[in-house]
């Protein structure tokens, strides 16, 4: 693979036909919610695009995001993309190790300074830099160093995007997200635990095509993928609207595929493309598999009051509070009532007789 | 010469009268007690009632005046009663009865006028303490007897 090769050349070298290429472009356009008229533009742009250099940093993470990307079915769009990018550093995937690996990173940074894309998965510990280091370099230091020369940063997975599970209460490592640390670079958050692979490739395709990052929502997520809630696109939504719910995982409702809201589904408050793109080559997604959405692409999903508790339910013991309140109310009410009664009795007892001589205004 | 001596005869005689004659005799009953009413309107009302030629419109006008006088003279609930004023109220009621069409007064206008006139006399007697209501009855018998003979 030559570094000067364009994307078009690289694809043709791998035996991808013009038709296959256009198909990929059309799929990319559709993923990015662009009109069909944009397909030739995308094709032209990708044809000429230089294979970008990508540096992938993994911090406090579980490798689930990488697993998700690499467990893609072949031939896939994402596979193609990964074949055509220049993944210059990725500790799980690269062959080099130790000082050779770090040298590769430094080289890539130097050669593509200001142009490379930084992909991050995992959160960054801040309580103590020693909690997570690579080649003796703390995560914070490495992130800040690499981010400095990046054209854009893509935070893959909820940990990089929002702090994720390491950030979950009580957050012993002081984990933070990329955007908590990097303030001067365009950052695209691709949350999910793990995120949908096609979303990552879509973001990269957008960057390659337009040289910019896609339109983002308030949480830095690409609108094209995170513009609608799971709930709004869920095939079980009609059951919700009709008020038909599964009450347990094995009841009649569950068997009939009714809405999982009562089982704690976070679909209504979760924005992601699971319900439309689905997983494993469009096979299924959690709700289709009979499990409520955990809301993994939303900040602090781990601390949302329980995966199996509906969002409208209390997170504290209300019955106990109610019992105490009624008890205390009964005691206080009777006490105040008796005080009222005593006052009333006293008033009646101290009644002063009104005679006919007392009717006219006194003084 | 007719002589009425009790209420049974008195009423029977009244009932036998036609509407105009009932009105005329009633007017005489009222006239007999009119001194008890301080309201000047009543004198005029009696004048109309006593006129055998009085037109319907004139009579209706007089009835209205009699009614108005009645409402002006009655004692309102809870206010201090004055029996001499109350006598005037009954005179006005008698005048009203005298002018009320027979259809609206099944017991007879003249009979009602006679009763209210007696009440006026009773009211007066409450003030003075001497019971003269019996005399009023006798006078009414005399008035009727004279009327029937005239």
């Amino acid at each position: 693979m030559s570094k000067d090769e364009t994307l078009g050349e690289a694809l043709r070298r791998q035996g991808i036909s013009r038709r296959g290429f256009l198909k990929f472009c059309a799929a990319t356009a559709s993923m990015m919610a662009l009109p069909p008229g944009m397909v030739p533009v995308i094709a032209a742009a990708l044809e000429k695009a230089m294979r970008p250099s990508v540096i992938w940093l993994s911090f406090q993470e579980c490798t689930g995001c990488t697993e998700s990307l690499t467990r893609s079915h072949s031939p896939t769009v994402e596979g193609l993309i990964f074949d055509v990018i220049s993944l210059d550093y990725h500790h799980t995937l690269q062959a080099a190790s130790g000082s050779a690996a770090e040298a590769a990173r430094e080289t890539a940074m130097k050669e593509n300074y200001g142009k490379y894309i930084l992909i991050v998965d995992g959160s960054i510990p801040t309580a103590n830099p020693g909690y997570s280091t690579i080649a003796g370099i703390s995560n914070v230091d490495m992130l800040m160093e690499v981010a400095k020369g990046a054209a854009a940063v893509v935070s893959v997975g909820s940990c990089a995007a929002f702090g994720g599970i390491p950030h979950a209460s009580p957050n012993p490592t002081g984990a933070v997200s990329v955007s908590d640390l990097v303030k001067d670079k365009p950052i695209v958050n691709v949350p999910g635990c793990p995120p949908i692979p096609v979303v990552i490739t879509g973001v990269l395709a957008h960057f390659l095509t337009f040289g910019t990052i896609p339109e983002l929502d308030a949480l830095g997520r690409p609108m094209a993928y995170y513009g609608q809630s799971i709930h709004d696109r869920c095939y079980r939504r009609p059951f919700y609207d009709k008020g038909l719910f599964a009450n347990t995982f094995d009841d009649e409702g569950a068997k009939k595929g009714w809405c999982l809201y009562k089982l704690g589904c976070k679909g209504p408050t979760t924005y992601n493309a699971c319900a439309t793109t689905k997983w494993n080559d469009g096979t299924s997604f959690p709700i289709e598999a009979g499990h409520p959405c955990l809301g993994c692409s939303e900040p602090d999903f781990w601390d949302g009051g329980g995966f199996y508790k509906a969002i409208s339910t209390p997170t504290a013991d209300i019955m106990q509070a109610a019992t105490y309140a009624i008890g205390a109310g009964a005691v206080a009410g009777v006490a105040l009532g008796v005080a009222n009664r005593v006052k009333h009795k006293k008033a009646v007892g101290e009644h002063v007789k009104t005679t006919i001589d007392d009717l006219e205004k006194g003084n | 010469m007719t002589e009425v001596t009790n209420d049974a005869e008195f009423r029977k005689a009244l009932d036998s009268l036609d509407a105009t004659r009932q009105r005329l005799v009633a007017a005489r009953f009222v006239e007999n007690v009119v001194a008890l009413c301080s309201d000047k309107r009543i004198a005029r009302v009696i004048q109309v009632a006593s006129d055998s030629e009085a037109g319907e419109e004139e009579l209706a006008e007089a009835l209205k005046a009699a009614r108005a006088t009645t409402f002006d003279c009655h004692t309102r609930c809870g206010s201090e009663g004055d029996w001499s004023e109350q006598a005037g109220y009954f005179v006005a009621r008698a005048a009203t009865a005298a002018l009320t069409p027979m259809a609206q007064m099944p017991s007879g206008p003249a009979w009602q006028a006679a009763l209210s006139s007696r009440m006026a006399q009773t009211s007066r007697s409450i003030v003075t303490g001497d019971d003269t209501s019996g005399q009023e009855v006798i006078q009414q018998y005399r008035i009727l007897s004279e009327f029937l003979d005239s």
């Binding site: 005679t355 001589d357 006194g362 | 029977k12 409402f71 809870g78 009773t122 009211s123």
Partner: protein, 428 residues
């Protein structure tokens, strides 16, 4: 020397507040519906006549004395006090523009019995020296003379003599051991003595033994109108004493609205013990006689008649069916007003308003409500069973140029008694 004072008024407010009052004030949502049940509002359009608003002084005392947060607010000095000026302002609202007809109590969506509370607020108003002069006079006469209109025994005796002459019947006075003691209102003695004659004829016809007491003939009770329970109790005690002395089985309340309320419903509560005799309204008794077949009538009135329900007798008293049964006996063409029975509109003069000259103009103005009701059915005559309603109806009809006699139901029945020669006279 009067002892009336703001302190005594406030003290009385504290005395009269009970669980229903506390509940009513807690429930009011200020929806304003009660205004539309009150003729003082509907005929003037002035929102100050909204029934619940007339209770503001009492509401403040409830809030400040009997609700925990109100007490708290009072301690912090956040609540509006009840002042003499406030009571001065409210005096006309409480006495001149409320007849305690209780129509608002029938429509309040949260169920507030506003008339119940007006009755109570008047206790405090009276104790604070804020009763209207007219009612004070009536009350003083009721206590000292025995009648709010100053009717003394000789006057009654003269009327009895007159009635005996007219009917040829004996009017029993102070007869022991009879069935019923008949009470009379001063209004009947003064303005409508024919009521006594009607009763005499009917009771003769139906074979009812009865008497009038020379010691307690007065049915009315200014005490419940002005709002002084001990005066009301004193007046009730006179009747109870007479009834017990004459050993009657029952006491008859005559054609008077508040008299029935006073003796039938408030009476035992005022004196603090149940009666050992029954209290019936004359219409109740007449209907009972009708049911027993003891009351028979012959001819019928051909005029188109309607019945005006006196508020204290129907809505507040529960005598609703009886007058209808009786009217159907003697009327060929009995027609109801659009809103009738327990939903009837007050004439505008009850609850002491008629004794209160200050309210004269207002009560005639609000009579327009009754006019509208009558205009809807255009009867030839109105029948009622309360002398006060009757006088005010006559006044109002005159004011509005309506030509329509107002009749007493009892008297109307008497005129149609079967087998009556109507003159009934034997003596000369």
């Amino acid at each position: 020397m009067s002892n009336a004072s703001l302190e005594r008024g406030i003290h009385a407010f504290k005395e009269v507040i009970d669980a229903p009052v506390a509940s009513f004030f807690s429930s009011c949502v200020r929806c304003g519906l009660c205004a539309h049940a009150c003729l003082f509002y509907t005929e003037t359009g002035d929102p100050k006549y909204t029934p619940i608003h007339k209770l503001e002084p009492l509401r403040r005392i409830w809030q400040q004395e009997y609700s925990f947060w109100g007490r708290f607010a009072k301690a912090l000095g956040l609540s509006k006090p009840v002042t003499d000026d406030l009571l001065t302002e409210w005096e006309t609202l409480v006495y001149d523009s409320c007849t305690m007809c209780g129509r608002c109590s029938m429509i309040c969506p949260v169920g507030n019995d506003i008339a119940y509370m007006i009755r109570k607020i008047r206790e405090g108003m009276a104790a604070a020296g804020h009763a209207p002069p007219g009612l004070i006079g009536a009350t003083q006469r009721a206590v000292t003379i025995g009648s709010p209109m100053g009717v003394k025994l000789p006057a009654l005796q003269a009327q009895i003599r007159h009635t005996e002459q007219e009917t040829g019947l004996t009017i029993p006075v102070d007869v022991e051991g009879v069935e019923y003691l008949l009470l009379l209102s001063s209004m009947e003695i003064m303005n409508f003595p024919e009521f006594i004659a009607a009763i005499a004829k009917i009771f003769k016809h139906a074979g009812v033994s009865w008497t009038i007491s020379s010691e307690a003939f007065e049915a009315t009770n200014s005490g419940i109108q002005i709002g002084v329970s001990e005066i009301a109790a004193e007046l009730v005690e006179r009747i109870v004493a007479a009834a017990e002395k004459l050993k009657v089985k029952g006491v008859i309340s005559p054609e008077c609205g508040h008299a029935y309320m006073a003796i039938r419903w408030e009476g035992p509560n005022l004196i603090g013990r149940p009666f050992n005799f029954k209290v019936v309204h004359i219409l109740e008794l007449l209907d009972e006689l009708r049911e027993q077949g003891r009351l028979k009538t012959t001819s019928k009135e051909t005029q188109r008649l309607t019945y005006h329900d006196p508020c204290q007798i129907s809505r507040r008293g529960g005598v609703v069916k009886q007058p209808r049964n009786l009217l159907n006996m003697v009327a060929e063409d009995f027609v109801e007003m659009p809103e009738t029975g327990t939903m009837n509109w007050c004439c505008g003069a009850g609850g002491g308003v008629s004794s209160n000259e200050r309210a004269d103009e207002l009560r005639l103005k609000v009579f327009n409500r009754k006019k509208q009701q009558l205009d809807a059915i255009r009867p030839d005559a109105i029948v009622s069973a309360c002398s006060n309603c009757r006088i005010h109806l006559e006044d109002g009809l005159e004011e509005y140029n309506m030509d329509m006699p107002v009749l007493s139901l009892t008297e109307t029945i008497a005129e149609h008694l079967a087998g009556s020669d109507q003159t009934g006279s034997k003596q000369s």
